[in-house]
């Protein structure tokens, strides 16, 4: 809690209600918000136009770099194919996200109550995390086969670590005075967990979930590169080998759009459930 925030709330009580001044303030805030939204959109359009011009002016051949209009045309023409390949990738990413994060939350809870387990296994978790996904992905494909499960496992593993670290830290982010308060109230261990620790950990958990939303899609795509006939990863490999750059680019657009949407859903959940969190609302 910073000093300015405190004095601001203190002062807000002394303001006399002034409709005109308030309307002016709201209008200024609204135009600032639109400015924040429109500026990046404008910049993106500008970059696309420059790209299109560069392709036309320098006569770049389509398989080296397709023009944005060519990518857009492919997106439209092959929309069914693209969505058909997004479905398995999305399934793998979301399943891996759920499994990896649930496992991390459960193990973090265990760590908080069993310090010995944390001291024994946390360093191992750190070591596993330092192995690059490209290195362990083939191992998982060998173990679990060419199907869905290997990709889900890769996505789960890639989500697991950031959530484990953050959740462990979040469950411990309880002040000693809050613990003393719970003791004075004779709170049971489960009440301390659900009413205090779990709530304290939510900002930490959501920070990890937002990272995991993007990385789970990466995990699924990497899994598909190793061996798959469908999916965004498989389509990327096929389009590259066929020098079908417009399809390659369109595939990337669909993959990133899904990642962004997944991230957006988690962010929305965060703003919905953590209205109280100063970092979010302030």
């Amino acid at each position: 809690m910073t000093a300015p925030a405190m004095s601001q709330t203190e002062a807000s009580e002394t303001y006399v209600s002034d409709e005109a001044a308030r309307a002016e303030y709201v209008a200024a805030a609204r135009s600032a918000a639109w400015r924040r939204r429109l500026l990046p959109v404008g910049a993106a359009i500008l970059l696309l136009v420059l790209w299109e011009l560069a392709v036309v002016v320098f006569q770049v051949r389509p398989f080296i770099a397709p023009a944005p209009t060519a990518v857009a045309a492919t997106l439209y023409a092959k929309f069914g194919l693209l969505i058909g390949n997004l479905a398995p990738t999305a399934t793998e990413a979301v399943s891996g996200f759920i499994i990896g994060n649930l496992a991390a939350i459960v193990i973090a809870t265990g760590f908080v109550y069993q310090r010995t387990a944390e001291e024994a296994f946390f360093p191992i978790a750190v070591m596993v995390h330092t192995i690059p996904v490209m290195a362990y992905a083939p191992i998982l494909v060998l173990m679990l086969g060419n199907g869905l499960s290997a990709k889900v496992a890769i996505a789960a593993l890639i989500c697991f670590f950031p959530t484990l670290v953050n959740m462990t830290r979040g469950l411990r982010a309880v002040t000693s005075q809050q613990m003393e308060l719970m003791r004075i109230l004779s709170a049971s261990p489960s009440e301390v967990f659900f009413k205090l620790r779990l709530k304290c950990s939510l900002p930490y958990l959501f920070a990890a979930l937002k990272i995991a939303a993007a990385t789970s899609v990466i995990g699924a795509i990497v899994g598909e590169w190793i061996g798959a006939t469908t999916g965004i990863g498989a389509l990327i490999i096929q389009a590259t080998y066929n020098f079908d750059s417009p399809l390659l680019y369109a595939t990337i657009v669909v993959g990133s759009a899904f990642s962004a949407a997944f991230f957006g859903v988690i962010s929305w959940l965060e703003s919905h459930f953590l209205k109280w969190n100063v970092a979010q609302s302030g």
Binding site: M1, A5, M6, S7, T9, E10, T175, Q177, Q178, E180, L181, M182, R183, I184, L185, S186, A187, S188, E191, K195, L196, K199, L202, L274, K275, W276, N277, V278, S281, G282
Partner: protein
């Protein structure tokens, strides 16, 4: 409600005889990386029911430790601790104790009203629902209309008011306050001091109030317990000769000036 009444009656007759707090030869020792520390050294004291005792002393004199022994947060290494005629643990389980911490220790995800309701939700606290509703208690501490505000939307003084309302929700017989206004500016602190005296008169609770401000100790307490540091021990108990109810103007009376001068002289030798 009837259950709570039944539960309380048996202890009432003999309990009314006993003081609110009685410590006899209480010693508390900690082991730290720099060796054993004696936080409290053979401390004996009593606080009568309905009394207001302020604990004053230099840092490290064991004021906070004393409150934590009374509230069963820290066990006494040796000596006797009696709260409301029973052990500290029994008093805690019977919800006879309310505690206000130095930082308000509100739960950030709960509104002001929900924070005040917390004691009714955990540890079977609903059985010890006090005579007042959480809403009335927020009104008592001057926060009507801010029930739905989250802690980050409240000023430091307001947060501490919520913490006081929360400590009162089980209608405790004993209120322990650990430098509750230490982090506030002087103007807010003065205002809250006056309001705390009003709450004290209103609830009839016994209050133990830790402070490092001489003026606060003298203005609030019926008695001031002066403590010395290393090891933490009782130095002197001073009766405050000011009449009640008190107002800020009493700080300018000769008695008050004399009292604070005395407290200062004793503190210098602690």
């Amino acid at each position: 409600m009837s259950q709570a009444a039944l539960k309380r009656t048996p202890e009432a007759p003999e309990a009314s005889e006993s003081p609110a707090v009685r410590l006899h030869n209480v010693t508390v020792r900690f082991t730290t990386e720099r060796g054993a520390v004696t936080a409290l050294d053979r401390v004996s004291m009593t606080v009568a029911r309905g009394g207001f005792l302020t604990l004053l002393g230099p840092s490290g004199c064991g004021k906070s430790t004393l409150l934590r022994v009374v509230s069963d947060l820290i066990p006494a290494t040796s000596g006797e601790v009696e709260v409301m005629g029973a052990s500290a643990a029994a008093a805690r389980e019977a919800r006879s104790i309310g505690f206000v911490f130095q930082d308000a220790s509100l739960l950030a995800w709960r509104t002001a009203l929900e924070n005040v309701e917390l004691p009714l939700e955990v540890g079977g606290g609903a059985k010890h629902r006090g005579a007042r509703s959480p809403r009335e208690l927020l009104a008592l501490v001057g926060l009507s209309g801010r029930e739905k505000a989250y802690p980050h939307e409240l000023s430091g003084g307001m947060r501490q008011r919520v913490a006081i309302a929360r400590a009162l929700v089980n209608d405790p017989k004993l209120l322990l306050m650990d430098e509750p206004f230490g982090a506030l500016d002087e103007i807010t602190r003065d205002r809250l001091n006056v309001e705390l005296l009003r709450v004290w008169e209103n609830t009839g609770a016994t209050i133990l109030f830790v402070t490092h401000s001489i003026y606060e100790a003298a203005f609030l307490g019926q008695q001031v317990l002066l403590m010395a540091a290393r090891p933490g021990r009782v130095r002197e108990v001073v009766d405050v000769p000011l009449p009640t109810p008190r107002g800020v103007e009493q700080r300018e009376t000769p008695q008050f000036v004399e009292l604070t001068a005395h407290l200062r002289r004793v503190l210098e030798t602690c």
